[in-house]
Amino acid sequence: MPQTEPLISFRNFSFQYFSQAEPTLHDITLDIYPGEKILIVGPSGCGKSTLAHCINGLIPYSYKGTITGELTVDGKTPEEGSLFERSRLIGTVLQDSDAQFVGLTAGEDIAFSLENDRRPQAEMKETVQRVADLVGMGTHLSSSPSEISGGQKQRVALAGVMVDDVKVLLFDEPLANLDPLTGKTAIDLIDRIHREYQKTVIIIEHRIEDVLYRHVDRVIVISDGRIVSDSTPDELVCTNTLRSLGNREPLYVTAVKYAGVTLTPEMHPGYLDTLDVDAVKGPLADWYNAQPPLPEKEPGEVLLSIRDLDFQYTKKRKLLQDIGFDIRSGEMVSIVGTNGAGKSTLAKVICGFMKQDKGDILFKGESITGWTIKERSFKIGYVMQNPNQMISKSMIFDEVALGLKIRNLPEDTIREKVEHALKICGLYPMRNWPISALSFGQKKRVTIASMLVMDPEILILDEPTAGQDYRHYTDIMEFLRELNARGITIIMITHDMHLMLEYTPHAIVLAGGRKIGDDSAVAILTDEDMASRANLKLTSLYELATRAGLPDPQAFVRQFIRYEEERRAKEGAPTQPGPGTADTAPSDAQ
């Protein structure tokens, strides 16, 4: 691939924010050539967002700090250019495609950069239409942001940088807010634009398997501000680099490794499509046959029962229709489905924030339809996706105590309950800390602790791991599993397939306000029809097993999950959280 001068070139480059004691990037040497497609991976706080800021010019033009070493972009050092010049060369699509939507309609948002460049209106209209057609948004130009989906907003954002005819497209975690199928479409679109328009593409993402659904030239792995690996996907997955640094490697790769296969780049294991299945077939079958039979779990009592539930805001559209299911005591359940399928609405109706039009909700056989929000909150705790939206006190203890103080409990009881909850959540040593010193995962624990003080029997969590890297994801999920082992039933609203597969034996699938599936997560993620109706993807484990010709691919997936679980249990309890690091870096906080 390298033929000419690199477009972007780092030479022994280090960067330290003025607000930080330590450099965030150390000794980076990296060349990116015109027309390349590069994936940059690494856990949160590793410096990958800072690296992105160095590429798109926010560093040094907006964020100040100390630079050592050299960086040239299109032959220019930062001193020779400006942020505006840089943005004509490199277009950035940010992670939060909702916040970056600055126009009142899609058309205005796409035109934003042209407006700032004083282009005449006729030219703008022409360019906007052309670029919008290219990303498939040509018929939505007058839609407001509330009328289009997350995936469509991202397309608008992409069009908004492509109007400048940039050479480089930089995507900061493009998959973070998308459901699996929309994510797949996004990766396809990026791939098409890369090939058809000869753009240089840089993708920053920790969902490696999902990006490797299409070809990339190189994967750069970053850890603690340094580049630790720079290789092709085929080379990378053969090593242990990803796992040892807290990244998630593609599931099918892990499975092949569990089967005892020594991967080599010649087997092309970087992508599931190119993997030489014949070389791994035998060991996979042997591994599968060597597994003990799957244990059957005794089902608990029915705890929560939803009967024929209907809900609608307006007369026009029913948001929930004929929903009915049982959740048993001690279960971990995921509620999945596309955006707008009714997942959040269902959770809100269960918590009593909104009242159903028809049907009943039973808790231990008793109808709670007449209960107030407050009464329900003693049985069912609700944890929002963004902990910053829940936290209203500045000290940890006060925040967790809030719900009890409102109920005017005696001081001693409050202290006892709060300390108990903090101990469960591993926050007891930090009880007198200000919340601002905590990382995202720790804040999440604070919000969970503030629910636990009310002794709920059910916790409902909205996207508990959204935007988290593998290590933080594992921390949060293992913690939830511990809570579950203490007898709390856990319901999660999610579109993370890994979470569903690995942690929730039971999954309920909604689409268009109706329940279309209620089965084990493995069964759902190996059912092609179900997956496509709910915007999910089949798990790569299933595809691997099918391609390898295993007799029962679904049982193979179950065995893999059980094996993983055992391994994690052997590796010991999840690490206790330490003082936050990710949140203190101004750029890597998410």
């Binding site: 939060d96 058309g107 282009r119 703008m124 939206q389 936290i391």
Partner: protein, 277 residues
């Protein structure tokens, strides 16, 4: 809860199809006309005119009902208070005194006072439909472009557009946070005492402010990265260029202003129409 600042419903008629700039300018011209003149006859004509175009614009009564009630209450209060605080202001202005009936020595109702206060009511009644018209018939996208084209700095104009853009999001966040706090037992209903309720509201505003600040950072990065503020001027995608009807509307407005000024200088020889001499 309504999550839009005001309802903009697209329609196809003379008023809707005017450019935002035209509507803003006409609104300003007519407002000036009405504010400058104290000739009840002139104002009454403008009043008829503004109700006529309200009719032409096909705005539904339901869209303006609540606003209208507020305005009527305001006008009524204003009418009473004016009389309470300066019952003889009309006499001062017109220089004559025609008593109609007495309440007390101080509060004698005069024809002058009635004319003065009546004129003021007419002023409000004629300007307010115009304001509502401007708000309800201008595509929000065009606001910023209109403001900027009458000389307001584009950064200030764009700030207005951003407010319109993010206001619904703030409302959504507010509702979500309020629900989560209510689940913890926070009472925001009228059952709670006002002081306590305000304190409880704080528990919603703190997280709202912090999550909005996070957003401000992303938005300003997104704007920087797409060249906002690069030049002293910018163009507008949503700008509607002026066409024949725009000039016609402007001409009508200016004609009304000119007519009113002519009345002021050549007929009334002052801002007041004085029938008492």
């Amino acid at each position: 809860m309504k999550s839009k600042l005001f309802d903009y419903i697209e329609r196809d008629n003379f008023i809707f199809n005017l450019s935002g700039v035209t509507k803003l300018l006409c609104f300003l011209i007519l407002t000036f006309t009405v504010m400058f003149s104290y000739d009840a006859r002139v104002i009454f004509l403008v009043l008829i005119f503004s109700f006529a175009i309200l009719r032409v614009s096909e705005i539904r009564f339901s869209q303006i009902r609540i606003m209208l009630y507020y305005v009527l209450v305001f006008i009524a209060i204003n009418f009473i208070l004016t009389f309470v605080f300066s019952p003889k202001y009309g006499v001062e202005i017109y220089g004559t005194e025609h008593d109609l009936f007495r309440i007390t020595e101080r509060y004698t109702v005069t024809a002058e006072q009635l004319l003065y206060q009546g004129t003021k009511v007419l002023k409000y009644l004629s300007v307010i439909p115009l304001g509502m018209l401007f708000l309800l018939t201008t595509n929000p996208s065009e606001f910023a472009a209109s403001l900027s084209s009458i000389g307001i700095s584009y950064k200030a104009s764009f700030a207005l557009a951003l407010t319109l853009r993010y206001f619904p999001d703030m409302i959504r966040d507010y509702n979500d946070i309020a629900l989560a706090q209510q689940a913890r037992g926070l009472d925001l209903s009228k059952k709670e005492k006002l002081g306590k309720r305000l304190k409880n509201m704080m528990n919603i505003f703190v997280p709202l402010i912090f999550s909005s600040l996070e957003r401000v950072d992303v938005v300003s990065n997104a704007m920087d990265l797409r060249g906002f503020g690069k030049h002293k001027k910018r163009t507008w995608y949503a700008y509607k260029p002026l066409v024949k009807n725009d000039y016609l509307a402007l001409a009508i407005s200016i004609a009304i202003l000119a007519g009113s000024l002519a009345m002021t200088f050549f007929v009334n020889h002052g801002r007041f129409w004085n029938p008492f001499i």
